[in-house]
């Protein structure tokens, strides 16, 4: 990397401490960022990275400590201060208004609210110039909802650059990108460094950290536990530092695939909003096998998940479970057919926040197992919930606790228990470990692997290519509603899958690039 000027820190965090009630989210975090430097902030989910950034951007006030930018302390609790001082943030969950145009999203907040007119022409010209300079191609007049995930991220970066950010903070920027898009992002970041910007790169992907950073800071349980020059460390050491030798990933045995349990042939579904539906896909899930579905989000994963969940019926094509065609397809029939469904969003779809654990446990089975002629069997339900809490190691105050009080990992364990207790034939796991800490990740993966070994057919949908490649016996790639052929474990490199993710693998079809 070029031109690190460590004599002059552009960003300094001093002794930042933040507590939420009994929980300490950040404890005495201190670091400097030099001009032209790339710092990787490495840490698991729940390590306190997001809280730290919320403090930097004035959304939270630190209990102790101070942030300075270019030598000047930032007033706490003022969201504008960091932006005005030249710090720009690229959020992991994009903060864009879908119904507005690119330029409107970028200009928002950049002109004073009392200004008499929006200067649209000047704004678009500046955006075009920045696009050119940083190789961030995007049409300023396009509506956000019409953009791909990669394009949306470019808008996020442009938002920061438009306000003349000198320090860029990127929160898990590659989580949603194809390998090729990640390369393009890195090219943009290198360009930014050449132009004298400084970067904080938040991630838990070690190879990327190694590729882009000068220095690595490891955050664990809210504390900075290690600092390494990137040249002096390696992935093994960083991994150990990040996780702290607590748990290990489950060992996968060899798969022994059995009969096809779910097969789709030439199947299509209607689009969901701006996301595509399925377009004539062929897919077979076999007993005793984990099928991984790779792809950039918004390419038809939701359509496939909704189909298998019973929320959507096929528009055309055949849909068979264990050899017999499905009819009257609803969530109830899906459950009755032995499909375990782990939804993408456990807060919105998987659980009812203000229901207690008992009620959440029986959401799918109250009609068949915990009631008689319309009368609830609450005693049985509670006993069931208690047993499940024990079996699946759900940490909670008891079956009467509201589920909103549980951590993501414990919530996911409860959902796992809810669906796995019924000995399912088919398991749909949509982003099952998103946002979980490493212990919970390993737990969920272990359970899925065990279910596979017990003979279930598992469909694992994830945007995390590493997760897909680590766990899957066979892999499909989904892109714009189309499904790639089946690739056996170990036959494809990430870059090759990336070609399919970008939609460039579908040769011989009308939409081939």
């Amino acid at each position: 990397m070029s031109g690190v000027d460590s004599a002059q820190p552009v960003l300094r965090l001093q002794n930042i401490t933040k507590r939420f009630g009994p929980v300490t989210a950040n404890e005495a975090v201190t670091f400097d960022l030099a001009k032209g430097e790339v710092i990787a902030l490495l840490g698991e989910n729940g390590a306190g990275k997001t809280t730290l950034m919320n403090i930097l951007f004035g959304q939270y006030t630190a209990d102790e400590g101070q942030v300075s930018v270019f030598g000047k302390p930032l007033p706490p609790g003022n969201p504008r201060a960091a932006l005005d001082a030249g710090v720009g943030m690229v959020h992991q969950h994009f903060t864009l208004a879908g119904n507005l145009t690119v330029w409107e999203n970028i200009v928002l907040g950049a002109q004073p609210l009392h200004a008499p007119r929006l200067r649209a022409g000047a704004a678009k010209a500046k955006i075009r110039a920045l696009s050119e300079e940083f190789q961030l191609k995007v049409d300023p007049d396009a509506k956000i909802s019409a953009l791909t995930v990669g394009e949306r991220q470019r808008v996020e970066i442009l938002k920061a650059l438009y306000r003349d950010a000198r320090i860029l903070i990127l929160d898990e920027p590659t989580a949603v990108l194809t390998p090729q898009e990640t390369d393009a992002l890195f090219a943009t970041l290198r360009k930014a460094i050449d132009l004298g910007l400084s970067i904080v790169f938040i991630s838990h992907k070690l190879h990327e950290v190694m590729a882009i950073s000068n220095r690595v800071l490891v955050l664990r349980h809210g504390k900075l536990v290690a600092e390494r020059a990137t040249l002096d460390t390696d992935r093994a050491e960083l991994s150990a530092l990040m996780v702290g030798a607590e748990t290990s990933a489950p060992e996968l045995s060899r798969a022994t695939p059995g009969a096809p349990l779910l097969s789709l042939a030439q199947l299509s579904t209607p689009p969901i909003g701006t996301a595509p539906g399925l377009r004539k896909i062929d897919l077979t899930l076999r007993a005793g096998q984990i099928t991984g579905l790779a792809g950039v989000s918004g390419n038809g994963q939701a359509a496939l998940s909704d189909l298998i969940s019973g929320l959507v019926s096929p528009q055309s094509g055949t849909f068979e479970i264990a050899g017999s065609p499905v009819t009257g397809w609803t969530p109830r029939t899906a459950i009755a057919q032995g499909i375990a469904r782990i939804p993408e969003d456990r807060h919105k779809t998987g659980t009812i926040a203000d229901f207690d654990l008992t009620e959440n446990t029986i959401l799918e089975t109250y009609a068949t197992q915990f009631s008689k002629r319309g009368w609830m069997n609450w005693r049985g339900a509670k006993a069931h919930a208690e047993a499940l809490i024990k079996t699946y190691d759900v940490r909670c105050s008891g079956p009467d606790a509201r589920i909103r009080l549980l951590s993501g990992g414990n919530m996911q364990k409860l959902i796992l228990g809810r669906v796995l207790e019924n000995a399912p034939r088919i398991i749909l796991a949509n982003q099952p470990v998103r946002g979980l800490d490493i212990g919970a990740v390993n737990y969920v993966h272990g359970r899925l692997a065990a279910a596979r070994d017990a003979g279930a057919a598992v469909l694992l949908i994830s945007e995390d290519l590493d997760e897909i490649m680590r766990l899957s016996d066979v892999i499909h790639v989904i892109s714009d509603g189309r499904l790639s052929p089946e690739f056996a474990r170990g036959t494809m490199q990430p870059e090759q899958l990336g070609v399919w993710m970008a939609g460039d693998g579908f040769e011989g079809e009308n939409h081939a690039a």
Binding site: F57, P79, T95, N99, E104, A110, H114, L118
Partner: protein, 314 residues
């Protein structure tokens, strides 16, 4: 053909514009609130309060425009109550709105009884008089229809222009629209979602109150308990009908008012002798429901309408 005669008379359209005016004020007010992400069901009560406040201020000796200002301020105040409960505290906008309508209505009636304990018929004020605009009012048909209205009606039309310009052409309007689409995007750019939404609700509520004041200060010259009579709810339907756009909402309000003016006139024709008058009186409400049904699949609802925003939360 009677219908043809009615529809081509300038007097009919002048009446339609007059009927539309309070709806335009209140619809713009509701539109501002909803574009920022807040459904304001306090509208009915705010209109009642505005109608009373403007009228009583003039009755107490203030000039007409002073009365309009008082109505606007009262609306802002009531909007302030709504916005504190619905924005930073994020309470159900349904419950807060209904509660505010009950509060504003009963407080108005209470104040009326306290201030005018003895009267059986409410006093009259010298209301806004038609103000023909020179030259324009002489144009055949359009002159009498459009340009011989009261100053408050002209203000209603100016308001549509101001709202439209502000929403689409100024940084403030962009911030308001973004707050209704994606509060997280607004917060990420260093703006306060709370301030933007509260401001929008207060200004919008002020406009609603002026819509109410139009009834007592321009359409009539006195205050009656049931004079707003569901107009607020109709305006909520008009916002939907107008697809949350000021121009379309204006068109909807005039169209709606034209139907209302038409039913009043039809009551005096041969049809009115056969059909019960209640059927005519139902028409505005039925039309509103039909408008909602017609737009149900098409309208682009602000994505964050009725979604509270708690910063730092994802």
């Amino acid at each position: 053909m009677e219908l043809f005669e009615i529809l081509t008379s300038a007097a009919f359209w002048a009446a339609a514009i007059r009927i539309a005016s309070p709806l335009i004020f209140a619809t713009m007010g509701e539109l501002i609130c909803e574009r920022a992400g807040v459904l304001n069901l306090g509208i009915e009560g705010i209109m009642v309060a505005g109608a009373f406040a403007g009228w009583i201020a003039v009755w107490a000796g203030m000039p007409l425009w002073g009365g309009v200002s008082v109505a606007f301020m009262v609306g802002m105040g009531l909007g302030g109550i709504h916005s504190i409960l619905s924005v930073p505290f994020g309470l159900s906008q349904h419950v807060v709105g209904i509660g505010l309508t009950l509060l504003a209505t009963s407080a108005t009636f209470y104040t009326y009884r306290v201030m005018l304990p003895e009267v059986s018929t409410p006093p009259k004020i010298d209301a806004f008089q038609p103000f023909p605009i020179p030259i324009l009012s002489d144009i055949p048909f359009f002159g009498p229809a459009l340009f011989q209205q009261t100053a408050l009606t002209y203000l209603a039309f100016i308001l549509v222009g101001v709202v439209s310009f502000t929403l689409y052409r100024t940084p403030l309007g962009l911030a308001v629209r973004a707050a209704g689409e994606s509060p997280a995007a607004v917060a990420a750019q260093g703006l306060s979602v709370t301030a933007i939404r509260m401001g929008a609700v207060m200004v919008g509520s002020g406009c609603m109150a002026v819509g109410g004041a139009f009834l007592t200060m321009s359409a009539f010259d006195s205050f009656f308990f049931d004079m707003v009579n569901g107009r607020g709810w109709i305006c909520i339907a008009l916002v939907v009908f107008g697809a949350w756009r000021p121009g379309k909402a204006l068109f909807g309000a005039i169209l709606f008012a034209a139907f209302d003016a038409l039913q009043i006139r039809l009551q005096q024709t041969g049809i009115g002798a056969v059909v019960p008058y209640q059927v005519f009186l139902m028409m505005p409400y039925i039309l509103s429901i039909l408008a909602l049904i017609a737009m149900s699949r098409r309208a682009e609802v602000p994505a964050a309408l009725m979604v509270p925003f708690n910063k730092g939360e994802r």
